[in-house]
Structures are given as C-alpha cells and as structure tokens.
Symmetry: C2
Subunit: 407 residues, 2 copies
C-alpha cells in the first residue's frame, strides 16, 4: 500500500441508479481518496437507462442500425460519469469525467459489441499526475474512424479491467448490487453461499454460463493481464469474491457453482451433407456476421447426412437464423429449426479436472428429477446441459444439492 | 433549385419531443430528400431533456462545474440525433448522425457558452457525396483539447447557421414550435401578427430583446455570412418568417415588433469614483468572467462620484455580483445592488432610423399607462426600457397598440 498505487473502481448501474446512490458512491470514493491512492473510476449508466434508450429506439425502428444504437446508448454512461464528477466536486475532490474519444479508448468497428484494441493512457496519466480523480464513462470507446462504439452488455466491466491493465493498476474492484459470486443464484437456491476465492478460469466458466456478476470478456482480459479482481457490493462494507490466478486452497473443491442461462436459443441445421469443411463454412459465416456461437453439437451421421445444433444469444437469433438459412441453401442442407424455450444449466469447478464421476453424478441428478437433457457440452472445468426452459430452475437446485454446495 | 443544392434544416426541441414527432420530422425530411437535395439536419434535445438533465445535476451539486455540465447536457442532442437517424432509416433513407468531435465542430473552451471557431467539413462533405442525410447533434462542439463544449441556450440554431455558412448551403430552415416571428408574443398581445420578412438587424434586435424564436448569436452569424433564414413551424405547412439582408419592402414600416425580456437582472454599482478607466475596468472584469452584459447606464456624476447600472442574464447574476463586489473594493466604490424583479420591453424596426418621434411616442405610451421607466437604452433601430417586472406585459400591449402593429 502506498501513495502511488492506482486503484480502478467500477460501479455498476444499480450503484449509480439515482442521486442518493451517486452520493453514496462519491462517499466511498472519498474514503479511498483520503488514503492517497490514484483513482480511476468506471461507471455504468444509471439504473435501467440503457434499457430505456433501447426501448425508445425500438419504438422508432424495430431493427435500428447498430451504429446509431451506439450513438444512442453511449449517452447513458456519459450522464452518470459527469454526475459522479459533480458529486465528487461537492466533496471538494478534484474529479474529471471522460468519454472514450477523450482518453483514447480505441476499439474495432463492430458496433454494439466492439473490442478494445488499445488505450492511449497519456491523458489519463497526465490528469492522475495532477491528482485528479478520473471518471470514465464505461461500456464505450471510439473506433479509428471516430465512430462511437459500445462493448456489449456488461461492457463497463471490460472498460475497468482494460484500464487496470493499461495503467498497470494495483487493484481493480468491481462494485455491483450483489455481495459477490454465489454457488448458485440465491433467488433460485435459498442455501446458496458466497464464494470467497475463484480462479479466473472458474469465473470465466461461471460468467459465460449465466452468473451475471461480471462480463465474460472482462474476466478474460483480467486473466490475460493477471488483474486480480474484487467483486463486491456497493451497498455493504463486507468483502466480496476475489478472482485470481490461483486460489489459496491447497486442494480445490470439485464443483464451485451452478449456473442457469436463459438468454440463449438453439438453432439446428438439419440434414447437413457430412463432408469436410461444412462445419467450418457454417461457423465462419456466423462469425463474420458477428454471431457468437456458444455450444455446438454434431452427432454421428447416418447416410453421410447429419444435424448440427448450436446455441446463440437470443439477441442475435434472428440474424443467426438469416445467416443459417443462407448457408443451408449453399451447402445443400435441408432446414433451419430454432428453439427459444431452452435453458442452460452448468456446473463449474477447477477441481473437476482431476475428479472422475462428476458428469455421471450430474446426469444422474437431472434424470432423478425427470429433467430431459437436449444437448451436452463439457470443458475441462465445466459441464453444461441444455434443458427445456421450464425445467431450468429445478435443474439448478438438483445440481446444487447433489454436489453439496450448501455446506 | 437543383440536385446539388444543400439544405440545412434545424429542428428544435418541441419538434422532436417524442417518438411521434420524430416520425413527423422524418416524414418532412423525406419529402426534401425526394426532391434530391443534399440534406444536413441539425437537432435539439427532445422536449425538455436539457432542463431535466440540468435539474438532475443541481440535485447533486448546486453549482456544478461547467465542464461537467457540458459533458452532461450534450447527451440530449446525441440522443435525438441518433433517434432521428433511425426514423429515417425506417423510411429507407440513408442517414448518419454525428456529434461535434466526429465532424470537426471546433469551439473555444468557454464551457456552457462556447463559440464555434471552425467547422472542418471534410467528413460531412464525404458523407453528403455518398448521398447520406447528415444528422448533427446541435448545441455542441469540441474544443482543441478535446473537451466537449456547448454553445449556450438555443445553441442548435447556431450549429445550423454555422454549418450552413461552412457548407455554403443554399437554404437554412429553422423549424420551431411557432409559425414565425410575431409583432409581439401572441400570449401577451392577442392581435399580434406574423411578420413575413425581417432584416438580420431587426431579427437581431428582436431576438436579443426577448423574441425567443431564434438565438441571437445564430442570427449574427447568419448576417455575417448572409445566410437567408426561414423560421417556420414543424407542425403546419405554411411559410414562416424569412430573415434576410434587405426585405422586399420599398419603405420599411417604422416599428416591426415589441418584445419582452424577463430573464435579466439589474446590477447597480453605487458611488463609483468618476475617473477615466473605471468603467473599462468593470466591464473588462465582467467579460473575463464570462458575463454578458446587456444594457449599461451611467448618468452624469455629482462631486466626481456616479452610479453605474447594467443588466445581465439572471443565470449569471450570482457570478456577476461576486465579480462586481470584488471590483467595488478595488476601485473604491461603495456598494453593489441587485434587482431581479425587472422586465425589459423593446420596440424594434429598421424604419426607426429615419423617423423621428419614435422614442417620445414610446415613452408617452408607457407614461399614459402609469408605467415607470427605470433604465433606457437605444440603438439605431430599437428602444429598450427597463420597467418593474409586473408592468412588463402591460407595457408590451401599450406599445403594440400605439405603433399600430395589429393593423
């Protein structure tokens, strides 16, 4: 701990939802400032501002241009950033707010889901050296052709981690409306417990599989640059969940958490000719179309014909169907089916690597509860199952129970 | 009229106040687009968005930093610009929205009342050549040090006129919620009539004296670059008021309009030593403090001591008092008095130049109605009187009547 330590603190939408909460946040920042740290604060838009703007846009144009969406929704963080600066001024703290183009948060040009290419930290460093508290409008950047871009849902997390990495920050704290990461969503599983330490890999799997505490891409960047994260609540003083390279445990618990994801949809391309390059073709086209594919399942083929199923975010479903239909024609497949009524339940834990029997225990628990599994996908440290949407919560409770996560 | 004519159209806050009105505006723009014009559209923030943001800021900090205010309130136009682009896309029109930094609207660094130094039209011209409809977030620009600046109340008018000048536009239409400029505010004078033609000078005097139809600075720029303006309603199809260098009249009517301004306050510096340089000192300090002084009155002095009175916008009153107090000490004057309960009534008309007796007729009308005059100031084409605030409307009616403006 020392005077020149750089702290990056990120405050989510609920933390700055209204005037009172912005004042609360400014109080917390003041307590850090008093200790002499150099502070870079990243804020999300106030409460559900972003959703409000999206709804407004949809009223005008049901499929608004992504470039214009970015122009529109990036205003949310600009508003909260400037208001937070004003709240800090009231505490006689010298704060200054910035949006992407002012502090060189350079992204690619994929509107609504841009990637950060580089942060030109010159201006921030200058202002830090003037002992200013930097407030950064999260979630956004600027492309090389000066277009305003946004980083996708939860993008403020990414802004914070990328800034921490670029500034070689000592601490990156992510303030949110929950006290940390839980073994399962407490709304679904009453006995869910807060997890004290998680590895980046575990957090990645949890986040990617429905633990909405932090954006997956943000955790990826934290892992890449080894930025230790502290996910905690802006409403209580307690410590939260620390995400790091290696947890302090000697032996890892087998399963760390159970997640539920309900915002994906399943697409099946039927009767695909089973020849080399077809899968590559499909997923290249989807990727070029900016579609993130999550699970992919292809079974053995019969008569050189097979089905390929995959899941995508519901928000990109229409686009994914459009692209899939086009490919279907080109490759001589038969049909494209889509199903939005699915849920993905997953178990995650680094300890799974060296423990056998985790998968069978998982499938047994679901079967015992009469939950049918539609797709399965596994990684080194996770198992995910697609089930009917209405069975999702039941599945989470069954898995939380069988792996003893309430203990 | 031809294909390559550039039209700059500006739509005020009421014209884009909600989804329906944005759609109406997009319809009107579509009718221009059909005729093949190159279109640059400037928009204000939706309805009272700006006031809403200002109120939000004041809840957090009663005297918010001007730099942060600009960060905050500039979002209003960014929102309406992107929404209008989406509405035009729905009509299959290729539109693209921009904020100041993207299209090089370079201003000085006087936050909340910045001046446009230059518009780098390269990007706009490129996009116009791709047959895009340019939507510009009005009211704002960017300083050379990349700070977001705003141009003061009504600044979108200025954005429009400055763009029209920089692009050498053929037409500049200003759409607002009234049908044009009236001989007096129809809410005060029932018989007020719409004025068909006004000179820049007349419009300047009217705008500066309370006809809120258009921002004074915007008219100044229009005059400087001889940009013919058409002020008209976005709700009806009728023509409005055309502002030009010379009206088509052979002889100008004597008085064109009567205005009322209630947003000024009077400051009097009492017992000022009457020696050379004192007035210069006072108004230099105020100007350096960013205070726009309107009327100035200094009477003959007694015993080398005089009073100096002047009016400033109420919004800058506190700052003006602060500066005045400081000067008062320095120059050995006695006291600073301020009065917010004043109104300024003015009569305006180019014809006044060559007609005698206008002033006496004006004072006679006020006296006859028992309205006391506290300050008088005259220009070539206008006479303004400061009266008690509660007498303002009565004064307007008296003047409208005596100069026969209802005929």
């Amino acid at each position: 701990m020392g005077k020149d330590e750089i702290y990056v603190l990120k405050f989510g939408g609920t933390s700055v939802a209204n005037v009172e909460r912005i004042n609360e946040v400014s109080k917390r920042i003041a307590s850090y400032a008093k200790r002499g740290y150099k502070l870079v604060i990243v804020v999300s838009a106030m409460g559900d501002t972003t959703d409000g703007l999206i709804n407004l846009a949809k009223k005008i144009n049901s499929s608004p241009s992504e470039r214009e969406m970015d122009m529109l929704i990036s205003t949310g963080e600009q508003i909260s950033a400037s208001l937070l600066a004003m709240a800090l001024h009231k505490r006689n703290l010298d704060a200054i707010s910035f949006v992407g183009h002012q502090i060189g948060i350079i992204t690619d040009s994929y509107h609504t889901q841009a990637k950060i290419l580089q942060i030109r930290t010159k201006r921030i460093k200058e202002e830090l050296n003037k002992n200013k508290i930097i407030i950064v409008a999260g979630f956004q950047g600027i492309s090389r052709s000066r277009e305003i871009t946004t980083l996708g849902r939860g993008g403020s997390d990414l802004s914070a981690v990328a800034l921490a990495a670029s500034l070689k920050a000592d601490v990156c704290e992510v303030y949110t409306d929950v006290e940390g990461v839980y073994t399962a969503d407490p709304k679904i599983v009453k006995k869910a417990r807060k997890i004290k330490y998680l590895t980046f890999d575990e957090m990645l799997e949890l986040a990617g599989r429905g633990a909405h505490v932090m954006q997956t891409r943000a955790v990826e960047v934290a892992k890449k640059f080894n930025i230790r994260l502290h996910i905690r609540s802006s409403f209580v003083k307690k410590g939260g969940t620390i995400i790091m390279k290696k947890t302090p445990y000697i032996e890892e618990p087998v399963v760390r958490g159970v997640t539920l994801l309900e915002n994906e949809a399943k697409i099946t391309i039927c009767n695909v000719p089973d020849k080399p390059g077809v899968a590559a073709r499909i997923f290249t086209e989807l990727s070029l179309g900016g579609i993130n594919v999550d699970m992919i399942v292809q079974n053995v083929s019969h008569k050189r014909i097979t089905d390929i199923s995959f899941t995508v975010s519901k928000s990109t479903l229409n686009k994914a169907i459009r692209i899939s239909r086009k490919i279907t024609k080109d490759i001589g497949a038969e049909d494209v089916l889509a199903d939005e009524n699915i849920a993905k339940v997953s178990i995650v834990g680094v300890g799974m690597k060296s423990h056998s029997g985790v998968a069978s225990k998982c499938f047994y628990a679901l079967a015992k509860n009469r939950i049918n599994i539609e797709m399965i996908s596994t990684s080194e440290i996770s198992i995910s199952c697609i089930v009917k949407k209405k069975m999702g919560k039941k599945a989470v409770r069954a898995l939380h129970n069988i792996f003893g996560l309430d203990k």
